[in-house]
């Protein structure tokens, strides 16, 4: 595996595995992310502060008072030379999603029209997609989740919305996402989950993690309301969403 080292000043560098999006490249990124995490825990990489995985690269942040680029780069090279197994065991996560209420899915009709499908076929294609969480970023808990069924690929909306409600489930390009906060957004809104992708009351405020395999489960409005009440009260059992 050949990588490029890109400088990010004297507090970070980026290990770039490729300039394209592919499961193989991202698999190596996640494997190095995990390998550095293990080495750090074992005390083998003093000065490394944290790593930031993306689709095709890993940023390594370090403390220039505790380590130098010249020390660290050969150590990262050695970790890569030891081999980066792709296809690491990942969590399998299922998220409930309500597609039914027009308030939750204002773009479902337009997506159906533009993809020459019925609304039900759009929902079925979203449910059948094999999603994987590639990157979290831009906002805490905002996940870029690729693997959307190819027949649903659409560019972003030409007119972004000023306000997208929290927990909206949206699609654009080859991805789906879930808005962790109310925010502006240009993706197509096709449903809503009663879950919060960022909840500061939880010990792990961000639910999704890079590497997660993900699918959606269709729920009706009554189930949505029941789960929403539990999430709001802090009594929802998040462990039920995860299979090892």
């Amino acid at each position: 595996v050949s990588v490029r080292y890109l400088s990010c000043g004297d507090t970070a560098f980026t290990v770039e595995f490729g300039n394209e999006i592919s499961p193989e490249i991202n698999g190596r990124v996640m494997a190095l992310h995990a390998a550095i995490g293990r080495a750090k825990e074992a005390g083998d990489l003093p000065g490394v502060v944290e790593t930031v995985p993306t689709m095709r690269s890993l940023m390594v942040a370090y403390d220039p008072l505790a380590a130098s680029r010249a020390d660290l780069q050969p150590r990262i090279d050695a970790l890569i030379a030891r081999g980066l197994p792709t296809g690491l065991a990942s969590r399998r996560v299922t998220l409930p999603c309500c597609y039914e209420d027009p308030e939750f899915a204002p773009d479902l009709g337009e997506v159906a029209k533009r993809t020459n499908k019925t609304v039900e076929q759009v929902i079925a294609a979203h449910l059948a997609s094999a999603f994987k969480v590639y990157v979290l970023g831009f906002m805490p808990g905002l996940a870029y989740i690729a693997g959307l069924d190819q027949t649903l690929y659409l560019p972003r909306r030409s007119e972004p919305r000023v306000r997208v409600p929290r927990s909206s489930v949206a699609i654009a390009m080859d991805m789906t996402t879930i808005y962790p906060f109310e925010s502006p957004g240009g993706w197509h809104l096709i449903g809503r989950t009663p879950l919060w992708m960022f909840d500061k009351r939880r010990e792990q405020p961000v639910f999704l993690a890079p590497g997660d395999s993900l699918s959606f489960q269709r729920i009706d409005r009554r189930t949505f309301d029941r789960i929403a009440r539990e999430v709001d009260a802090g009594t929802f059992d998040w462990a039920t969403l995860v299979k090892a």
Partner: protein
């Protein structure tokens, strides 16, 4: 009895900050933290606090704080002209900055405007009694986390103090304001300098760039000559597959004007980054005001690391060089009596 500083009148953008929420960028959580780590660190050192304890970062104009505790020792660091109202309705008495002050119950501290910097710091001996979020008290207002309810101070807020009264000891001051340097801002090329033409890179390091009004904790948008991308913007020359954003990353979107990303920056982004500010000069960026002009000067990674280590030595020397602060007008008799310092005291 609870001890607090009560916000009689808020400043413009006062937030609690420590040295940042590290370790969660992989979850999309920005580090936040002090825009000028040196200012916060000196304020903590003056008080004998740990270097990374959270203090109040004052943005442009500071608050008016009523002491609701037996006593509290505060350190003010930065170009401030604070004033103290000792009893209600009395005329305010000016205080010096870059030193500690012992404040008593019922007194009101007016922090006021900062002169020539966008940030300054107020720390308290013993720190604030607030729960950390993900290991840090740094306020990140976009997600509403850290500090006091995840937001800037507002009228009527009470900042709970960990100590009900000030620890015994002298007031201390800096021997001189810390010298942040005045030459060009040092940068390291990359991570995507190859997305810019040779002429574009030359423009970047040979032109003056002015801080625009769009400058906040997230970053600074500069105005000046446009930097040419290597490939036309129409053909995707200003788009990359998103990658990580380090502190001080200088991204250049299609319009060609540089944006330096600071404490509250997002963790990943899709614009090419021509260069990254060397960590030695990040505190200077954190103090810039709209209208100020800078130049950027390239250094190597090794030079940047060395500049940072040298700066660290200068900070350590500044701390070793703290002086006992002489009270205004010479000997503070009231305090001498109060603290029974009868065996002679020598200032400086």
């Amino acid at each position: 009895m609870s001890a607090a500083l009560k916000v009689v009148r808020p400043g413009l953008f006062d937030t609690l900050q420590d040295l940042g929420r590290v370790g969660f960028m992989a979850l999309g959580m920005p580090t936040a933290g002090a825009m000028d780590r040196i200012g916060l660190r000196l304020a903590n050192a003056l008080l004998g606090n740990p270097p990374g304890m959270a203090g109040l970062e004052i943005g442009v104009m500071g608050p008016e704080l009523l002491v609701d505790a037996d006593s509290v020792r505060v350190a003010l660091v930065g170009p401030l002209s604070p004033a103290l109202v000792e009893v209600p309705d009395a005329p305010p008495r000016p205080l010096d900055s870059n030193r500690t002050h012992l404040l008593k119950r019922g007194q009101t501290l007016r922090v006021g405007m900062i002169d020539g910097s966008s940030t300054a710091y107020l720390a308290v001996a013993g720190g604030f009694a607030l729960p950390p979020f993900m290991g840090s008290l740094s306020t990140y207002a976009r997600a509403g986390v850290g500090g006091l309810d995840g937001r800037k101070l507002g009228q009527g807020d009470a900042l709970p103090l960990a100590r009900g009264q000030a620890p015994p000891g002298d007031e201390r001051k800096l021997a001189a304001p810390f010298d942040y340097g005045s030459g060009p801002i040092r940068i390291v090329w990359g991570p995507q300098e190859d997305y810019f033409s040779a002429g574009g890179r030359r423009t970047f390091v040979e032109s003056d760039y002015r801080v625009s009004k769009e400058a906040d904790r997230m970053g600074i948008r500069f105005e000046g000559p446009a930097i040419a991308h290597a490939t036309s913007v129409e053909k995707g020359g200003a788009d990359i597959i998103s990658d990580g954003i380090g502190p001080g990353a200088i991204q250049v979107p299609g319009a060609g004007l540089p944006i330096v990303l600071l404490a509250d920056r997002q963790t990943v982004g899709g614009y090419p980054k021509i260069a990254t500010v060397a960590s030695v000069d990040l505190p200077r960026l954190g103090r810039l005001l709209p209208g100020q002009t800078v130049r950027f000067q390239p250094v190597t990674v090794e030079e940047a690391e060395k500049l940072r280590r040298d700066q660290e030595s200068r900070i350590a020397r500044a701390i070793a060089d703290f002086r006992v602060a002489r009270p205004p007008g010479g000997i503070d008799l009231a305090r001498l009596y109060e603290e029974n310092l009868i065996d002679g005291i020598v200032y400086e």
